[in-house]
Each structure stands twice: as structure tokens, then as C-alpha cells.
């Protein structure tokens, strides 16, 4: 958890490793009410040319919120969440989040965080989040 006044531009965020399991992928799809077969049905995912069920975007967004607030604290609020999508996420892999502070605005007590979530196939997600501190 960060104190706004102590945050410095360029400061690194603590890395977060999220083990990717079939349960997280299918559970994440259902918790986000996304029943697209590629996220919950192995045979359907294979028929789509994937090796396994793959993570849906809304779960990726949820994990980004966890990574960001794990650093900024539970009382901080997200102003935006902008991601660029890359390699898919399959069970058995690990999602490693890393990031740093790329802007700080004292006038509205916000910082911009630039982050990356990588797996063994490369970059799964890159993006920025603007967080407002209480």
C-alpha cells in the first residue's frame, strides 16, 4: 500500500505472479458471465484451434485490478484501465505482472501506472491504469 506523497516517478511496482489454472480460466469466465465456449469447454477451445481453454478479457481486467490495488491499496480507485492484448493464456502457465509509475498528478491525487503481464509465450497484456488516491 502506497502513500501518495511518497510515490516517485519511475518507481517500480512489486511484481505479482498469478498461476494460471483451468479453474481460474473457467471460474473467471463464469464470474464475469462470459460463457463463450472457448473459455469454458476444452473440446470447443480445441475446435477453435487453441490447445486449451483460454482466459477471457474480463478476467485479465480483473487480475489487472488485483495487481494495481495490491500495490496502491484497497482505498484507491481506478479512473481508467487500458490494455493491449497479446499472447493467449492457457492453463499451466504463470502470469507475471510488472510495472512502474509513469505519471503523477498532485492536483487530482492520481498516478499513471504502466504495466505488463507476461507468460511463457510472451506478452499477454500491456497497458496503463490511472489510480486515484484518497
Amino acid at each position: 500500500m502506497q502513500a501518495f506523497d511518497a510515490i516517485e516517478l519511475g518507481q517500480a511496482m512489486e511484481a505479482l505472479d498469478v498461476p494460471i489454472t483451468a479453474a481460474l480460466i473457467t471460474g473467471g469466465a463464469i464470474a464475469t458471465r462470459d460463457y463463450f465456449p472457448g473459455h469454458i469447454d476444452l473440446e470447443a477451445a480445441r475446435a477453435l484451434g487453441s490447445q486449451a481453454v483460454f482466459m477471457n478479457i474480463l478476467t485479465t481486467n480483473g487480475l489487472v485490478q488485483r495487481f494495481v490495488q495490491g500495490w496502491s491499496g484497497p482505498q484507491s480507485r481506478l479512473c481508467d484501465l487500458k490494455i493491449k492484448l497479446g499472447a493467449p493464456h492457457y492453463p499451466g502457465d504463470t502470469l507475471r505482472f510488472s510495472g512502474s509509475v509513469t505519471d503523477k498528478r498532485p492536483q487530482d491525487r492520481t498516478v499513471e501506472l504502466s504495466f505488463k503481464g507476461a507468460n511463457s509465450m510472451g506478452s499477454h497484456v500491456t497497458g496503463t491504469v490511472r489510480v486515484r488516491f484518497p
Binding site: R33, G49, V64, Q69, D80, K84
Partner: protein
């Protein structure tokens, strides 16, 4: 380049606004708690009695159709905001991949609020070819509102961009592996013209092709001397010292198994020829033109030996 005529009907849809899609459920604590449980987000700040509100990244969840595809709550539009993709599909652009998701949040959404969104087809790019195939980037903008008797309030917005394309080749579903295979470095294509170079690397030597008729050194290797057109050649061993003539640093896209940012340099050797190579032992921000470098050989994936260059202090 002229576009296919069917694209006129696709482009005619740009700017079109699609009606409301409602949420099945009002913002509620059970869905928030279960979402937090899966995502690993601490739910307690969101579930305070009387001030229950949703984590921001949940915004889209409220208006998802759920188990039955295309089954939206009563009052929702019957038009398909993705109709432009159907149009493209009919023209053989069978595949789709999401590229960008940009959420903006105007305010927190609270327990009991009923949300809906409207969609605008924002842009269609010119035809683009990527590693996946050829097609169009299609951008949609969804605006999320809370239904309020005194006047609906916008609570957030989503910019969603997809690439709708015809794949370069149908990706054959390979035998499913339990874990993703580790990507390897691409191996060089070795021919009669280039074999000496790669054999030299394996022997720890950086070799340069030399014309035996006129003595001119050349790189990259080829069958004919560009100076005197002789086909006769041999090779000399370079000192391995050179300078950075130019460089680029690859940031994006990140292609495994390479580390990123990835500094790639054009090295001018002492002997006068230049070659493209990877820089090692230098922070990407510290690479500079004119930097003195020295070759070293690294082995990848068991048997691939590559010459790479590391900065060395200036002699003077």
C-alpha cells in the same frame, strides 16, 4: 489501393449508434463477492453495509448476456452492434481477435443501480496485414449508464477494438500439449554460401568472406564478388572488434524467446564490413552509436551458436 465494393456497405455503418443493452441484474453484493473471490481482489472495501459498490473492472460484467448467447433482457435493442463483423465474415474474413480494451470510469456504481450501455461503431481502419493475416481493425465505443428517475447518468465507457481478418494460413490445431512449448530462437537458413560463417561461429571464430581474385571482403555472404564478379572466394577470421554503426531497440511486440527491450545493432568491424547482431551486456537506454564492441559467442537451444557483441571501454 481501391477497396472491394462490399466495403462500402461496411463503411456506411461507421458512426451508427445502437440502442440499449440492459443488465439482467442490478448491481449486487453476491456477484461482487464472487468476482473478487476469483480475481483475488480483497472484497471487504466493496461490501461495506449501506455503501456496497462494485470494483471498477467489473463494469462490463453487469450487462453480459449470460449462459444463453444473444439473450438480452427485455427492452434491449434487437439490433446487433457487431453487424459489421458479420458483413466481413460473409466476405471470407473468418477470424477475429481482440486488440484493445480501454475502460474509463466516471464514478463508482453502487448496489441497486441498474446499468445499460449503448454502442457506436467508431472506426474501421484501412486494410492492414499483420502476422495473423489481412483484414480490418474495427473500433466500437460502448457508453455505460445508470438508470435514474431524475435523469440517467453515464458511469463509464469502453473502447473495444478487434482485428477481423482472413488468416494467412489456417492454423492447424496441433496435438494439445499439457503446457505450452517453450519457443526457440529461429535458426538461420544455411546454404553453400553461408555455411563457412556458421561453422566459424561454432569454432568460436567470426569469419568474413573474401574474394580471392581481388581481395575484397564482403558481408553478408554471397556467391559473387560485387567488385570484380569473381566466383572464387575464401574466408578470413575477423579480430571480433568493431563499433556500433547504428542500432534499434525492439520494445513491441514482444516475441519470445527474446528478452525485451531488445537492442539490435549494425556493427562495423575493424576489417570494414558490417553485420547485424544482438547487443549483450548493455542496458537498452545505454546503447549508442560509435560504442566500441567485442564479439562473443553464445549457444542457444543446445546447438545454435550466435555471434553477439558486448560493449568494451574505449581504448583511448
Amino acid at each position: 489501393m481501391a477497396e472491394p465494393s462490399w466495403m462500402d456497405s461496411a463503411r456506411a455503418l461507421v458512426g451508427k449508434e445502437y440502442g440499449r443493452v440492459y443488465a439482467w441484474d442490478k448491481v449486487n453484493a453476491p456477484m461482487i463477492r464472487q468476482w473478487c473471490e476469483i480475481m483475488g481482489v480483497d472484497a471487504s472495501p466493496y461490501l461495506v453495509e449501506g455503501v456496497v459498490h462494485a470494483p471498477e473492472a467489473m463494469l462490463q460484467v453487469w450487462c453480459m448476456e449470460g449462459f444463453t448467447l444473444n439473450n438480452y433482457p427485455p427492452g434491449s435493442t434487437t439490433e446487433n452492434p457487431y453487424e459489421v463483423l458479420k458483413l466481413m465474415e460473409a466476405q471470407g474474413l473468418a477470424s477475429v481477435v481482440a486488440v484493445n480494451s480501454e475502460l474509463q470510469f466516471s464514478r463508482a456504481v453502487r448496489e441497486g443501480e441498474r446499468l445499460y450501455y449503448t454502442t457506436r461503431l467508431d472506426t474501421i481502419s484501412p486494410e492492414k496485414t499483420t502476422a495473423l493475416g489481412t483484414g480490418y481493425f474495427v473500433t466500437l465505443v460502448m457508453r455505460y449508464f445508470s438508470e435514474i428517475a431524475s435523469g440517467d447518468q453515464e458511469v463509464g465507457q469502453l473502447l473495444f477494438r478487434v482485428f477481423k481478418f482472413k488468416p494467412t494460413q489456417a492454423a492447424a490445431p496441433s496435438a494439445p500439449a499439457s503446457a505450452p512449448a517453450k519457443p526457440k530462437r529461429p535458426a538461420p537458413g544455411i546454404s553453400d554460401d553461408t555455411r563457412f560463417f556458421w561453422e566459424g561461429a561454432r569454432a568460436g571464430q567470426l569469419r568474413i568472406q573474401r574474394c580471392t581474385a581481388c581481395g575484397t571482403l564482403r558481408h553478408p555472404p554471397g556467391p559473387v564478388c560485387p567488385q570484380c564478379h569473381s566466383f572464387e572466394w575464401d574466408a578470413v577470421t575477423a579480430s571480433g572488434r568493431g563499433t556500433v554503426y547504428s542500432f534499434v531497440v525492439m520494445h513491441y511486440p514482444e516475441v519470445p524467446p527474446f528478452e525485451h527491450p531488445n537492442p539490435i545493432a549494425l556493427i562495423e568491424l575493424e576489417e570494414g564490413t558490417r553485420l547485424i547482431t544482438q547487443l549483450v551486456g548493455v542496458a537498452p537506454g545505454d546503447a549508442r552509436i560509435g560504442q566500441k564492441v567485442q564479439v562473443e559467442f553464445h549457444t542457444y537451444d543446445g546447438d545454435l551458436v550466435l555471434p553477439q557483441f558486448r560493449p568494451v571501454p574505449d581504448a583511448n
